[in-house]
């Protein structure tokens, strides 16, 4: 890609199990005010924000046209607003495209989700399946993930012990992030004793119910100095959709993630992710997905996920220093959370979990059962 698009600022509320005292408008308003304060951006029709990209979900909000409830708190009154009704990482990709196209100079990108609002996440994700066959069978993202977990653990020699170390590490890392969901630190034994949700996925293997909202300001290369002295550049984005029926695909093959990653690498001019990228944020809804996605983007050898954990792969490649999705972000917002961690790390604002010398980072997002849709963004300073 020729031109670059900058992320000028990010804002977020803390990830929590349930914001009982706030509705999503209040959560977004916190982020909105923070972005305005950090960047002094305006809504001037010539020079300011003319388009806002949001991310939310009708089913989780229990509202037809969920973005209708956010128009005022994202500043979209008499401005444009387009809702990414998909994993938020694609909203980042789309916002980038809107700026590269020349249509917009400045885009505000905001998202929200209150997983705590619904009686059951699984009832919601069950609705992602066709009403005739998969839905009556009781499929939801969690139990189809379990089918993938079984297939992948078999293929890459990943054990219950490996999964326990992933969970322990995730919670430890997250404890260094003031915006992360506050989860109790656990040891391997406790993880391995936690009850089964859907064999082989245990309760502590799966990301907990979380409420969260965020904001980001994106801008074209020419005008970045108006909003920040320390931009982080997005230099690549790509996605891929896998087939729908579980029986139509090899659940452990990483078909869609490999495609998404390769497309993104080509656009960002990356030859070898192990050498060219210093930080990785992967969207692991469940513990088994950390090594699986690591294989998919090419930082763990194919079918060697178990060995990769044993060798300390997650730490040597700086993977999920935020604690990852596993520690808790709402569904569909995991990708934005990953990108925000990359932004903070690249800017040197990651506090106690700061890595040194990272110049390029990869943020990943996925949604659908067993990672049907995958997307990747590359960020650089």
């Amino acid at each position: 890609m020729g031109k670059r698009v900058a992320i000028c600022a990010v804002a977020q509320v803390k990830n929590v199990p349930a914001y009982r005292q706030m509705r999503f408008q209040n959560m977004l308003l916190e982020c909105f005010e923070s972005i305005m304060e950090q960047t002094k951006v305006t809504f001037d029709l010539d020079k300011g924000i003319r388009n806002i990209v949001t991310c939310s979900d009708d089913v989780f909000d229990a509202r037809t046209i969920s973005n209708n409830g956010v128009t005022d708190v994202v500043g979209a009154h008499f401005r444009g607003e387009e809702k990414m009704a998909q994993e938020s990482i694609n909203g980042l990709g789309y916002a980038m495209a809107s700026i590269l196209s020349g249509h917009d100079d400045v885009i505000l990108f905001m998202g929200h989700c209150k997983e705590s609002q619904t009686e059951s996440r699984r009832m919601c994700t069950n609705l992602a399946f066709d009403p005739f066959y998969c839905r009556p069978l009781g499929m939801d993202f969690q139990n189809v993930d379990a089918l993938q977990a079984r297939a992948y653990m078999e293929k890459s020699k990943v054990t219950d012990e490996h999964l326990a170390t992933i969970v322990v590490r995730s919670r430890k890392n997250a404890s260094r992030d003031p915006f992360a969901r506050e989860n109790r630190l656990v040891d391997e034994k406790e993880v391995m004793n936690s009850p089964m949700l859907a064999d082989p996925i245990r309760q502590l293997h799966y990301y907990p119910v979380t409420d969260w909202a965020y904001g980001m300001l994106l801008c074209c290369e020419e005008r970045v100095k108006e909003f920040t002295a320390n931009p982080v550049w997005i230099t690549g984005y790509g996605s891929c959709m896998d087939s729908y029926f579980i029986g139509d695909k090899d659940l452990a093959s990483n078909f869609s993630l490999k495609n998404a990653a390769q497309r993104t690498f080509a656009r960002a001019g990356i030859r070898d992710p192990r050498k060219d990228i210093q930080l990785f944020e992967l969207c692991d809804h469940a513990a088994y997905q950390l090594p699986l996605w690591a294989e998919g983007i090419g930082i763990a050898d194919e079918s060697k996920g178990g060995a990769w954990i044993d060798e300390g792969g997650p730490d040597s490649y700086n993977v999920n220093l935020s604690g990852g999705q596993l520690n808790g972000n709402p569904l569909l917002l995991g990708g934005a959370a990953r990108a925000i961690e990359c932004f903070l790390q690249l800017r040197g604002e990651a506090g106690k979990r700061q890595v040194k010398g990272a110049k390029r980072a990869l943020a990943h997002g996925t949604y659908g059962a067993a990672g049907q849709h995958q997307a990747v963004v590359i960020m650089e300073i």
Partner: protein, 412 residues
């Protein structure tokens, strides 16, 4: 032109839609989508191999499918492709067209296919729209997209008889247009002689909004293929170019009136039109455009919005309708397709406006082709709480020079 010069030009090279109907029990959702996708690919003489990215859109609570692009992969052909899903309510079809334009212009993708659909018979539409209101208060009061306020405003401004006749005249014209369109859902064969009878006989829904004046609830899908300038020139013998688009939203408050002369209310359609024409140097839109495919959810709204979209004054818009200048052979043909009153598969509806406007420019609209040459087309989307999206389509890539009488004349 938007903020800066468009990175590269984008053309429409393929168009497909299903027959719109209230009886599509013969297909499920992906199967119906597949009909439109196949038609668009055939139209463009392409296969799925040629498509880089799919942009999917509808309103998921109408059918109660969460993240429907996952299941619909079976019908969209997204397997192995890049795929995004963008939704904005009634405007969604137009938003996915705008998004496709942005994605291709960005240089990330050479060929993008937008797919909009709805199977309204699979849910309760008015209940579904009511669900958009805030659950804490307005959801308990509101009745979907039905309102008699526009009728009330027009009657207050132009008198009962004139206003009611204008609305019904518009309705009959749309019915006549729909009769020419093989894909249209409803065409009753209405005649102008029935005008006064229909005003009396059609049942009232809300205030003076009558059943026959409100859009239908349809099942249907539409797919449109967008390509970069290079690919468009290689692949299409009669491309249609996207010139510019604008989106304007409004806060979530339904009861905005401006019924006091000291407290006028800014109209989103007017605002969108003003901004779009200003940055494209168009000062006489009624003269510039050859056709307008408008998202007309009800005939009262349609009549009123003509004034906003064409920056008209006084009763100029009423006269356009009364003198039948909005008919297919009139001065400003509105919805030769029969419009949204004729067919309304909501998630596809606004994309159909783009598709139909493009067909007019190509000269491929068949029986509902406008009898004079079409160079400049306007399409609109409507949704949410008075949200607007407008898109301008052109026959010639060098639209600035192509039309000496129009835009250059207007610039000076």
């Amino acid at each position: 032109m938007a903020h800066r010069k468009k990175n590269r030009n984008v053309g429409i090279i393929g168009i497909g839609q299903t027959k719109h109907s209230s009886h599509r029990e013969d297909v499920n959702q992906p199967e119906m989508i597949h009909e439109a996708v196949s038609a668009a690919l055939t139209d463009a003489n392409l296969t799925m191999k040629d498509i880089d990215c799919i942009v999917h859109g509808n309103m998921e609570l109408f059918e109660m499918v969460h993240q429907p692009d996952l299941w619909h992969t079976l019908g969209t052909g997204a397997y192995g492709k890049e795929c995004i899903r963008i939704t904005t309510g009634g405007t969604v079809g137009m938003t996915i067209a705008c998004a496709s334009d942005n994605l291709v212009a960005s240089g990330l993708y050479d060929i993008v296919m937008a797919v909009g659909f709805e199977k309204l018979q699979e849910g309760h539409t008015t209940g579904g729209i009511t669900n958009m209101a805030d659950p804490l208060w307005f959801r308990n009061l509101q009745t979907g997209a039905l309102t008699g306020s526009k009728a009330y405003e027009l009657i207050s401004e132009f008198g009962e008889e004139r206003a009611k006749r204008a609305s019904m005249m518009y309705r009959i014209i749309m019915d006549k247009h729909a009769g020419l369109n093989q894909y249209a859902h409803r065409s009753f064969g209405l005649e102008f002689e029935q005008l006064d009878d229909l005003i009396k006989s059609s049942p009232k829904l809300v205030g003076d909004l009558k059943l026959i004046e409100m859009c239908s609830q349809s099942d249907g899908a539409c797919a449109v293929i967008f390509a970069c300038e290079k690919k468009t020139k290689e692949l299409s013998r009669h491309p249609v170019w996207i010139r510019d688009h604008i989106t304007v939203h409004k806060e979530e408050v339904f009861q905005i009136f401006g019924y006091h002369k000291d407290y006028p209310v800014l109209q989103s359609h007017r605002f969108a039109a003003d901004q779009l024409y200003k940055r494209n140097n168009i000062d006489k839109p009624l003269e510039y455009f050859d056709v307008f495919e408008m998202y007309d959810p009800a005939s009262w709204w349609a009549v009123d919005w003509l004034r906003d979209f064409f920056q008209l004054r006084g009763d100029e818009h009423i006269m356009l309708v009364e003198e039948k200048e909005i008919m297919i052979d009139g001065k400003m043909p509105i919805n030769p397709s029969g419009g949204v009153i004729g067919s309304n598969p909501i998630g596809a509806t606004a994309l159909i406006r783009v598709a139909e406007a493009a067909l007019q420019i190509r000269g491929d609209a068949g029986k509902h082709q406008i009898p004079k040459p079409v160079k400049h087309a306007l399409a609109s989307g409507f949704g949410g709480t008075m949200w607007t999206v407008l898109m301008m389509l052109e026959k010639e890539l060098n639209w600035q020079e192509a039309d000496n009488g129009g835009i250059l004349g207007n610039q000076r």
